[in-house]
C-alpha cells in the first residue's frame, strides 16, 4: 500500500512542478521533452481575469436594471427572480454539495415568511423597520433546521428525499390548522409606506444583497475544507467517514446555513407579496422549481443555480402572465423538467463546459498531430550522429 502511494506520488509531483525533471524513467523522458512547455502549464486552461470581468458586468447589470426598466412589472420580475437566485444558491449549498436532495426547503422558506408576518403584527413594526426582522427570520428557519436535520439526515438517498417531502406536508398542514398562522386565510403583512413609483426598489436591492451573500458564501464553502468534506460525503459517505469526516455535524451545518438563507428569502418574499397563505407559502411547486433551477444550471456548481434561476424564474413568471390558466404553465414546466433531465442531466453549465473542453482537446490533438507530421517529414538530427562521422 505504502509503496503504491509512493510510486503514485512521484509522477504527480512531476506534473505539479510543471517542467521536465531530469532523472525521469527512460521511456517517458523524451515524451516530456517534446511537449511544448506552455501547453503543460496551461492545463486545465483558466482565464481568471475574464470571469472576474464577467461577474463585475453581471453585478453592474443587475444593479442598474431597476433604474433603466422602471416599469413595475419588470422590477416585480426582478425581485422574485433575485429571491429565487438566493434560494437556489442556498439550496445548492446543502443539496448540491452534499448530494442529499431536499424537496422540503419550502419548510424553511415558509417558516421565515410566517415569522416575519406574525412578528411584524405582534411587535407593531411598519415600513422599513420590518426589514430588521429578516436576519431573525433566517435564524428561526435555521433553528427549525436543527431538529429536522437530526431526524432526516439519519437516512440517505430516497428515504431522505421522502422524509423532506413529509416535513413539507407537516408544515403545510400545521400552517393551515394553527391559530398563530391564521389558519387557511393566512396573515397579512404590514403595508410598506414608501412611494408607489419606486415601491419595488428596496425589495429589489435587498434581494440582490441576499443573493450576493448566498453566492459568496457558496464560493467560500466550496473552497474550504468544509466544502471538501461535503463533497466527500456526496461521493461516498462511508468512505468519507472512514477518512475522518464527521459526517453528521458537517451535513447538519450545511443544512442550517442553507435554511438560514432560505428563511430570509422567504421573509423578504412575503413582505413583498403582502400576505402569507398556507397554499402559497408552502407550495410543492416551489420545491420543484428550486431543484429544477439547480439541475438546469448544474448541480453543485456555483454559477449553475444562479444561471438556472436567472433563466427559469422570469420564463415561468412570463408564462404565468401569458396563459389564462395556470395549468398550461404547469404542463410546460413539467415538460421542461423532463427535457432537462433526459437531455442535459448534468445541467447546462457542465454540459457546455464539456463541449468546450472536448473542442479544446480536439484542437490540441490536431496541433499535436500536425506537429508530429512535421517531425516525421523532416526528423530532427540526433546529436549522436556527429560523433559517428
Amino acid at each position: 500500500m505504502t509503496s503504491d502511494r509512493a510510486a503514485g506520488k512521484a509522477p504527480a509531483g512531476d506534473q505539479h512542478a510543471g517542467r521536465p525533471v531530469a532523472p525521469g524513467p527512460a521511456t517517458t523522458a523524451p515524451a516530456t521533452a517534446t511537449i511544448p512547455a506552455g501547453t503543460r502549464h496551461a492545463w486545465p486552461p483558466r482565464s481568471r481575469s475574464l470571469s472576474v470581468t464577467g461577474i463585475a458586468v453581471l453585478i453592474a447589470v443587475i444593479a442598474v436594471f431597476p433604474l433603466v426598466f422602471t416599469n413595475p412589472t419588470a422590477t416585480n420580475f426582478g425581485v422574485i427572480t433575485l429571491i429565487f437566485v438566493a434560494v437556489a444558491s442556498a439550496w445548492n449549498m446543502f443539496s448540491g454539495f452534499s448530494g442529499y436532495l431536499s424537496l422540503g426547503h419550502a419548510v424553511f422558506y415558509g417558516t421565515g415568511a410566517y415569522f416575519l408576518v406574525v412578528a411584524a403584527k405582534d411587535w407593531n413594526l411598519n415600513g422599513a423597520d420590518v426589514f430588521w426582522l429578516l436576519p431573525l427570520a433566517g435564524v428561526v428557519a435555521a433553528l427549525i433546521a436543527v431538529p429536522l436535520g437530526l431526524v432526516a439526515l439519519r437516512v440517505r438517498r430516497h428515504t431522505f428525499v421522502v422524509i423532506t417531502i413529509a416535513f413539507f406536508f407537516i408544515a403545510q398542514l400545521s400552517a393551515s390548522n394553527l391559530t398563530v398562522t391564521g389558519g387557511s386565510s393566512g396573515v397579512l403583512a404590514p403595508i410598506p409606506n414608501w412611494a408607489a413609483a419606486t415601491f419595488n426598489n428596496p425589495f429589489y436591492y435587498l434581494a440582490m444583497l441576499l443573493a450576493a451573500a448566498a453566492v459568496t458564501l457558496s464560493v467560500l464553502i466550496r473552497r474550504s475544507v468544509f466544502g471538501l468534506q461535503l463533497r466527500a460525503i456526496r461521493d461516498d459517505e462511508d468512505r468519507a467517514a472512514g477518512l475522518g469526516v464527521r459526517a453528521m455535524p458537517v451535513k447538519l451545518a450545511a443544512l442550517v446555513l442553507s435554511a438560514f438563507f432560505t428563511g430570509m428569502a422567504g421573509a423578504l418574499w412575503v413582505y413583498f407579496i403582502g400576505q402569507a397563505v398556507p397554499q402559497f407559502v408552502f407550495d410543492p411547486l416551489f420545491d420543484l422549481a428550486v431543484v429544477l433551477m439547480a439541475f438546469f444550471g448544474g448541480l453543485g456548481t456555483i454559477a449553475g443555480p444562479v444561471l438556472g434561476a436567472l433563466i427559469l424564474e422570469p420564463t415561468q413568471l412570463y408564462l404565468n402572465l401569458q396563459e389564462s390558466n395556470s395549468y398550461e404553465s404547469e404542463i410546460l414546466f413539467g415538460a421542461l423538467f423532463l427535457v432537462v433531465i433526459l437531455f442535459l442531466p448534468r445541467g447546462v453549465l457542465p454540459t457546455a463546459g464539456e463541449w468546450l473542453t472536448t473542442g479544446r482537446i480536439r484542437r490540441l490533438r490536431g496541433d499535436w498531430l500536425a506537429w508530429r507530421a512535421r517531425r516525421t517529414a523532416n526528423p530532427p538530427v540526433p546529436p549522436a550522429a556527429g560523433n559517428l562521422s
Binding site: 431526524v151 421522502v162 420543484l288 442531466p345
Partner: protein
C-alpha cells in the same frame, strides 16, 4: 361513542386494504427498479378519473369498468417507463428518476385540470350509497367491496410473484440485479412489466378511493402520495407484507384520531414516521441494506 369507535376501526381496516394495495404497487416498483414513484398519487387520481369517464359517458358499472381501466393503467405505466425512466442511467439515477416521476406527475395533473377542472367529482353506483348494518353501526357497501377488491388483487399479486417464472425473475431482480442479469434474466423487461403492474393497481385504488372519499380533484394526489410514501417508508422500502400491515394499522389509527381531531388526523401518519425513523432508520419491516446503500 362505542359505535363510533367500532365504525372507525371497521372503516380504518377496510379502507386500509385499498391503501395497502396502492402502497404495494409503490413498494414493488421500489424493490425492483430502485425508484420512488412519486407519481403514484396522481396515477390513483388518473385511475379514478378513468372510472369516472367510463361510468358517466359510457354508463358502465364501476366494477365492470375495472376490466378496462386496469389494463389501461398498465399500458400507461409501460409507456412512462419506456419514455422517461429507462433512459436514465448513471450515478445520479436515483435522484433523476425521482424528479422525472415528479415531472410526469405535474404534467398529468395539469392535463387532468384542463380536462376536468378543479371541481370535486365523485364516483357513484348503487353500492356507494347502500350500507350494511354491522353490530351497532352502519358501513357503506363500498368499503366491503373495496376491501374485497384489494384482497383479490393481493391474491393475484401473490400468485404472480410466488407461483410463476416471471415472479421468480422479479424476486431475483429485487434481491440482486447484477446476479439476476448474470443468470439470464431480462432485467429491462422485468422492470418494465413491474412498473406496469405497480401502476395498474392504482386503477383499483383510484376507483375505490373515488367512491370512498366522497369527492376528488387532481389536487387530491398530494394527499394520497404523502400518505402512501409515509406507509411505504414506515413499513420499510421493498416490503410488500410490511406495507399491508402498516397501511391497515395507520388508517385505523387515523380514523380513530379523526373522531376527536379531524384537522390533525393525517399528522398521525407523519409523526409516526418521524418517530419510528428516529429509532429504526430502515423502517419497521425493512432490511438493513436499504440504509447501507
Amino acid at each position: 361513542m362505542a359505535s363510533e369507535i367500532g365504525q372507525a376501526i371497521a372503516a380504518g381496516i377496510l379502507g386500509g386494504g385499498v391503501y395497502a394495495l396502492m402502497a404495494a404497487g409503490l413498494t414493488l416498483i421500489f424493490g425492483v427498479l430502485d425508484i420512488i414513484n412519486v407519481a403514484q398519487g396522481i396515477f390513483v387520481v388518473l385511475g379514478a378519473y378513468l372510472s369516472y369517464v367510463l361510468s358517466v359517458h359510457l354508463h358502465l358499472d364501476l366494477l365492470l369498468g375495472l376490466f378496462i381501466t386496469v389494463p389501461a393503467m398498465f399500458v400507461i405505466g409501460l409507456v412512462i417507463y419506456w419514455l422517461f425512466i429507462r433512459p436514465l442511467r448513471g450515478a445520479e439515477r436515483t435522484s433523476m428518476t425521482l424528479l422525472a416521476c415528479f415531472a410526469v406527475a405535474l404534467i398529468i395533473e395539469g392535463v387532468l385540470y384542463q380536462e376536468f377542472g378543479s371541481n370535486y367529482v365523485s364516483l357513484n353506483a348503487w353500492y356507494t350509497t347502500a350500507s350494511v348494518h354491522l353490530f351497532d353501526f352502519y358501513l357503506a357497501d363500498i368499503y366491503l367491496i373495496g376491501f374485497g377488491l384489494a384482497a383479490v388483487a393481493f391474491g393475484a399479486l401473490y400468485l404472480i410473484l410466488y407461483r410463476t417464472t416471471f415472479g421468480r425473475a422479479v424476486r431475483a431482480t429485487m434481491q440482486n440485479q447484477v446476479a439476476a442479469r448474470l443468470i439470464g434474466i431480462d432485467v429491462n423487461r422485468v422492470s418494465a412489466v413491474t412498473f406496469g403492474i405497480g401502476t395498474s393497481v392504482t386503477a383499483i385504488g383510484g376507483m375505490v378511493y373515488g367512491a370512498i372519499s366522497g369527492g376528488f380533484t387532481p389536487n387530491s394526489s398530494y394527499d394520497l402520495i404523502s400518505r402512501l410514501l409515509a406507509i411505504v417508508i414506515l413499513a420499510g422500502m421493498g416490503s410488500i407484507g410490511g406495507a399491508l400491515v402498516t397501511a391497515i394499522f395507520m388508517t385505523t389509527v387515523e380514523a380513530l384520531v379523526d373522531i376527536w381531531q379531524p384537522d390533525w388526523a393525517v399528522v398521525v401518519f407523519y409523526l409516526a414516521m418521524v418517530i419510528i425513523l428516529t429509532f429504526r432508520p430502515a423502517g419497521l419491516f425493512g432490511r438493513r441494506a436499504v440504509r447501507a446503500q
